[in-house]
Symmetry: C2
Subunit: 199 residues, 2 copies
């Protein structure tokens, strides 16, 4: 019996180290993949439809929204991005755990559409540390950094419907926690009805 995968929604402030934690956790695992989004923006040179994104027209995107074909969607710099439900469902049915790296508002939509999704918030050890990391990257202007800090604080308030919080003060530990969450979620009693019926 192929066990269904889990949809893992990962959120957290820019600079919390979300991608680093996820990449560390999935090292050597072949049962985790990232979701592929649909977008209305044009492909950049080298991007392949269905690999980086599913590239769709604005009309098709509106249709997907109207038909409930997206688990969540958002607008960013005049382009639309969304997570195709059918694609995610297919990967889950194949036994893959699917990672979705989205903001809190998108996670809220996913929770409504797929209540069994696992919502994980990754936070830096403190806002002071986040500020240090953002400055250390040297990519943001002073006002952008201030904006990100205000946004982070706001996200903490909004994220109360998440299932888990991982405080990324140690990469190894944070990655282990993410893997433990995946392992534990696969032990959910509700997922074992077939086993219990057969016994």
């Amino acid at each position: 019996m192929k066990k269904k995968g889990k949809l893992l929604v990962i959120s957290g402030p820019s600079g919390a180290g979300k991608s680093t934690v996820v990449f560390k956790a999935i090292e050597g695992r072949d049962d985790i993949c990232f979701s592929t989004s649909a977008t209305t923006r044009s492909p950049r040179p080298g991007e392949v439809d269905g690999r980086e994104y599913f590239f769709v027209s604005f009309e098709r995107f509106l249709e997907m929204v109207a038909n409930d074909e997206l688990l969540e969607h958002a607008e960013y710099v005049a382009n639309c991005y969304g997570t195709p439900r059918a694609y995610v469902e297919q990967r889950l049915a194949e036994g893959m755990n699917v990672v979705l790296d989205i903001e809190v508002q998108g996670a809220r939509q996913v929770r409504r559409q797929m209540p069994e999704a696992v919502l994980i918030f990754i936070a830096p050890p403190s806002l002071e540390e986040l500020e240090k990391r953002l400055r250390g990257r040297g990519t943001d202007t002073e006002s952008a950094i201030e904006g990100r800090l205000i946004r982070a604080r706001q996200e903490y308030q909004e994220a109360d419907f998440y299932d888990y919080l991982i405080v990324n003060d140690d990469l190894e530990k944070a990655a282990n926690q993410l893997n433990a969450i995946i392992e534990a979620e696969h032990c959910r009693f509700a997922d074992w009805s077939d086993f219990l019926k057969a016994n």
Copy 2:
């Protein structure tokens, strides 16, 4: 900040290997202990009050029940057994994860009294395998074995309020799953309100 421990309620049919899985999981960990029950039965030679059990009179036990001092209680061979709430609360406050090995009915009482308890059911890979294990032990009569199998099937039906199911088909794997569940439960978003308030 000392993080509060988790109350881990472990149930499962006799022969599922509950104790073996728990002992394997806590090897080398000093943050897990078993709970100590109160009982009305007399101490056996060598048993120390507060170590094997809290030995109490029948009158005192009734009082504990009346005063809601027990997280759960049951009667077994004309003696009463129960889990003192104050004792468990104290160990949890010390940061210990407390293991409670009890039957489904007791777990139901714990869930009502302490909704944040983590309920874990440990099952054998199949009822055929359970039967083989029970026969292999050579300690039960034929009718006792049949009784245990009927009881196991019944427990599966009643256990639908548990959080997790661990299928013990491989000791190492089962112990890892138990540890993953403990790790994941310590990442519960709701446990981090102090962290979020401070940030």
